[in-house]
């Protein structure tokens, strides 16, 4: 499907009126995939421009991966290097696994944005710069001695310096808007240029503007003019000699939407509660990068969701445990430092054997660490970070949309096995987006709470065949009983200090969690089912690994990969999978935490690839390591 560059009637007229001759029309070059980054000041509207572009692209059938990158400061001083905000979009004619490694086109609204982002731009890549902002003051702020648009710094790149501010002033002059308001339209001008450059229709964004600013006709007009002006600028100036076109990907039929990981977790939780016929209760405390989960769920009152913004992380989980005790699906969401605070209460949920989902959106640690950056360094904490023998299932989502699936899975396991479940996501997939094929509630796996009302033969710690105890809602007549954090007498549930009983209960809790291995899918091998090298990942490294695999395959290099989403317990076939390869390599955004657990479980040594920079792996980093292991020249 080739996009028509705008179908608006007046727009079409204006287009035909543009005075470009056939001879000078730029060629449209088909490309397989493109990565674009919009970058500017926190206030330049880059997140909006980026998300508009990605939504429009996705709506035309592309697979898209995006990643916003914003400073920890809410409003950093204008023009500073640390105040630069970015939004990256990767789209392709085939399946997209990541928001892209190297950028093909970089839009910069000021010198600081150029300085911060240039290192990620491909050689020969495109730079679209607002030349009006490259004045002395902004150059100083970005620590440029001379103007990089003029001094040869950007040699080897395709630089298009556009006086965006002047263009905006000109195109909006008869609207008599205050300067500050007019300048807010700069992002739409830049977006218009990008739409033109990638041969995409303006319709999606035009419609969005019309809906968004329906009550502010002047702003609506200004933004539409800015967007079109950007598009015409590409069309009428002779600056660009090439346009690009990416064919849409072939995605399965269905209804799609864009989702980031946090929203996907929130939706997954609501869907799981609905599937189980339970009230959803979130107890949570604001923390970056997980707060969005609470904010989304707080909006879902229409769906009966209760959100308790607690006084601290501990109360966040404790209110959720209280809710579970009373018969709701209790959930708490947090990030590393909050996870540390919730530790004791997770132990309570383990010994009380109550369903609970704990979502840890991992960020750079230790301590406050890197709040807005990503990491996978809470795996050992999830496995072992509690006092006593305290097993809890651990799951990890591997892409933004997969957060939905895994939130449902975490709920299913929690309810079925009467246990707290830890779901690990991270800042990368929490903020990144991708198209998600919308699911129906009835397509989700069955979630059946084991509520007990029958008096005959009841005991609080009587177990079923999967070792789960019954869930009794307070209010159920005749089943009044007491539970708590002290060791329980097997079956009866009374307090017991008996040594034999403690050993039995410790083993029963362990066996119950181990038994979940019978209830989860096998880990899949992509590529040959046995061979020289397996790349093993978990959670969000999936994207970089899958891309690396595709690239290596293109180069004729044969490897296989598997990505774990169920970590405790591991899938039953994992040992066999690992032993089917001479070597196993584990890329992780930590210092080898999965590798340690694999060694403990199976006595298998693996080759580790660590990255703890607060940013995800580039696929090239994984490809290079593979080549090093296989002794192939890079």
């Amino acid at each position: 499907m080739e996009d028509k560059p705008g179908v608006e009637s007046n727009f079409a007229e204006q287009k035909s009126a543009s005075s470009k001759t056939e001879a000078s029309k730029p060629v449209i070059k088909p490309v397989d995939e493109v990565t674009i980054r919009f970058a500017g000041d926190s206030g330049d509207g880059m997140q909006l421009a980026g998300s508009q572009f990605s939504d429009a692209i996705a709506a035309t059938g592309h697979d898209v991966g995006t990643l916003p990158d914003y400073p920890a400061e809410i409003r950093a001083p204008v023009g500073t290097l640390y105040g630069v905000s970015g939004f990256q979009i990767h789209f392709s004619s085939h399946e997209v696994h990541t928001p892209g490694d190297e950028i093909n086109a970089l839009v910069v609204m000021n010198p600081a944005a150029l300085k911060v982002n240039l290192k990620d731009l491909k050689k020969n890549g495109i730079i679209i710069a607002n030349s009006d902002s490259f004045d002395r003051k902004n150059l100083d702020m970005a620590e440029y001695k001379s103007n990089p648009l003029e001094d040869g710094t950007l040699e080897g790149y395709n630089v298009f310096d556009i006086p965006i501010s002047k263009q905006i002033t000109e195109v909006l002059k008869d609207l008599n808007l205050p300067m500050k308001t007019a300048m807010k339209c700069k992002n739409f001008f830049a977006l218009g240029v990008v739409y033109w450059l990638y041969n995409k229709s303006l319709d999606y964004t035009l419609n969005w503007i019309k809906g968004k600013f329906a009550k502010h006709p002047e702003i609506l007009e200004a933004n539409i003019r800015a967007l079109k002006a950007g598009y015409f600028y590409g069309e009428t100036t002779e600056m660009f000699t090439t346009r690009f076109s990416v064919k849409p990907a072939v995605l399965p039929k269905g209804i799609y939407r864009n989702l980031n990981g946090n929203e996907a977790v929130a939706l997954g939780m609501v869907a799981a509660a609905k599937r189980a016929g339970l009230q959803l209760f979130l107890g949570s405390y604001p923390i970056t990068p997980a707060s969005e989960i609470m904010q989304h769920l707080a909006k879902y009152k229409k769906y009966g969701v209760k959100v308790f913004q607690a006084e601290d992380e501990i109360a966040g989980i404790c209110t959720a445990i209280g809710a579970s005790f009373s018969g709701s699906l209790g959930v708490t969401s947090t990030s590393g430092p909050g996870m540390a605070l919730k530790t004791e209460a997770i132990g309570l949920a383990v010994i009380s054997e109550l369903p609970l989902v704990i979502v840890n959106v991992q960020r750079g640690g230790p301590s406050t660490g890197l709040p807005t950056k990503t990491e996978q360094a809470d795996l050992l904490q999830a496995f072992y970070g509690r006092n006593g023998e305290c097993p809890a299932p651990v799951l990890a989502a591997c892409t933004p949309a997969d957060c939905f699936t895994m939130a449902v899975e975490a709920s299913r396991i929690a309810v079925k096995y009467m246990t707290p479940v830890i779901l690990l996501t991270d800042g990368y997939i929490a903020n990144g987006t991708e198209p998600w094929k919308v699911q129906k509630i009835e397509e989700l796996p069955e979630i059946k709470p084991n509520f007990r009302t029958e008096k005959e033969g009841f005991a609080p710690y009587i177990r079923n065949e999967i070792l789960a105890r019954p869930w009794v809602k307070p209010g159920t007549p005749g089943l009044e009983h007491r539970i708590g954090g002290l060791e329980k007498q097997h079956i009866k549930g009374s307090i017991s200090y008996d040594p034999e009983n403690h050993q039995l209960m410790v083993s029963l809790r362990e066996q119950k969690v181990r038994g979940i291995a019978n209830d989860i899918p096998d880990v899949e091998i992509i590529g040959e089912q046995e061979g020289e090298l397996l790349i093993l990942g978990w959670g969000s490294t999936y994207g970089s690994i899958a891309s690396a695999y595709d690239n290596l395959k293109e180069q004729g290099i044969n490897v296989s990969y598997s990505v774990l989403k169920y970590l405790n317990p591991f899938p039953k076939n994992l040992e066999k999978v690992l032993r089917s390869f001479k070597k196993v390599m584990i890329p992780e955004m930590n210092l080898g935490q999965l590798a340690k657990i694999i060694r403990i479980e199976y006595l298998i040594d693996t080759i580790m690839l660590h990255k703890v920079k607060g940013i995800p792996f580039k696929s090239i980093e994984i490809e290079n390591k593979v080549k090093e292991i296989l002794k192939i020249k890079k």
Partner: protein
């Protein structure tokens, strides 16, 4: 020893009839393991005696939540639903239970360490939110279960195992703290005044919103006699004053003394010396936060008696749990949300 939790020991009354219980039916039958002579026994007995008077409340709808400490063993002895949780967190767990299911009658048993030290944060926010939970604070001014360290209500100079040279901290005043957090029901009683204690428990139940009852409770092992002045027959009349709504603040043998207010300053007047009359005595108003603050400060003034009774009772302030339900009800006025719509969102496309 077999300390079976007795589940389903008593046949529930039919759904339609209002249940009638005896005090014994509220006993779980589990051996009570507090030290002989502990003030906790009295609190347990008064709760079990008061509960049959909770008109219309079904036993299965009552939940006792506790943290850690001697007092926190309480739920095990009550034949209701119960959850003995972790140190300091009873307020947070109770908040979750009540918010998730407001139809339950939620009671929290806690001690001075559990509630005011490790659980201080949860306690103040519970009061502030006015969640409809009844909090029974067993205040014995010492850590009992860990065998005798200073607690946040231990007095300055008190010698304990952790303060062998005397406590250098000043105690928290739980009543003032609850007032500061804008509480809606704040009361005090004493373990040995069984009738008054029962009355206060019932007042807690009747109040809609967080009900906070501080109970002076004697630890027979580590702080024995701490409240002797207020419980001993010889001294109690001169050192305890009962607050009653709409009544003059009188105390002493034959109510021979009263409390007079000069501006904001309370003082004791003698009604037998011919200089003062009953008309000089302050008449208490339990809806006055100002008076409640004045009365709460008596604990820091050795020349004034210790007040027991309801310091403050403010009705008609919406509770957190009812507001939470109300917001959902409003959102669902035009019917429950359609899940398909939610999952699809506003910006979907079809392939």
């Amino acid at each position: 020893m077999d300390n079976v939790v007795s589940a389903g020991q008593n046949d529930a009354t039919p759904e339609t009839a209002k249940p009638v219980y005896t005090a014994k039916e509220f006993s779980s039958g589990q051996d009570v393991r507090w030290c002989p002579g502990c003030g906790d026994f009295s609190i347990l007995a008064q709760v079990q005696r008061a509960f049959p008077q909770l008109i219309g409340e079904k036993k299965e709808d009552i939940v006792f939540i506790s943290g850690i400490g001697c007092s926190s063993r309480f739920p095990y002895y009550m034949n209701t639903y119960g959850y003995h949780t972790i140190h300091g967190r009873a307020a947070a767990i109770s908040s979750g239970v009540k918010s998730a299911n407001p139809s339950l009658s939620v009671w929290m048993a806690t001690g001075d360490g559990d509630c005011l030290s490790i659980g201080g944060n949860h306690f103040i926010h519970l009061i502030r939110r006015n969640i409809d939970i009844n909090v029974l604070l067993f205040n014995n001014k010492i850590y009992g279960l860990t065998k005798g360290q200073a607690s946040p209500t231990s007095t300055h100079g008190m010698v304990t195992k952790s303060t062998p040279a005397g406590n250098i901290e000043y105690p928290v005043n739980p009543i003032s703290l609850a007032l500061g957090m804008n509480g809606t029901f704040i009361a005090r009683s004493i373990d040995k005044d069984t009738k008054h204690l029962q009355e206060m428990i019932l007042r807690c139940y009747k109040h809609t919103g967080t009900s906070f009852l501080e109970v002076y409770q004697n630890c027979v092992i580590f702080n024995d006699g701490v409240y002797d002045l207020y419980t001993n027959k010889e001294t109690r009349d001169d050192n305890v004053i009962k607050i009653e709504h709409g009544k003059p603040l009188l105390f002493g043998k034959d109510n021979s003394k009263g409390i007079k207010l000069d501006g904001w300053k309370p003082s004791v007047i003698d009604l037998t010396d011919g200089k003062n009359s009953i008309n000089d005595v302050l008449v208490y108003d339990e809806t006055s936060k100002e008076l409640a603050f004045i009365m709460s400060s008596f604990a820091e003034n050795p020349s004034l008696p210790i007040p027991i009774g309801v310091f403050l009772c403010v009705e008609n302030r919406p509770t957190y749990d009812s507001d939470m339900e109300a917001q959902i009800k409003i959102a669902q006025e035009k019917g429950e949300g359609n899940m398909e719509e939610l999952l699809k969102g506003n910006a979907f496309w079809e392939i």
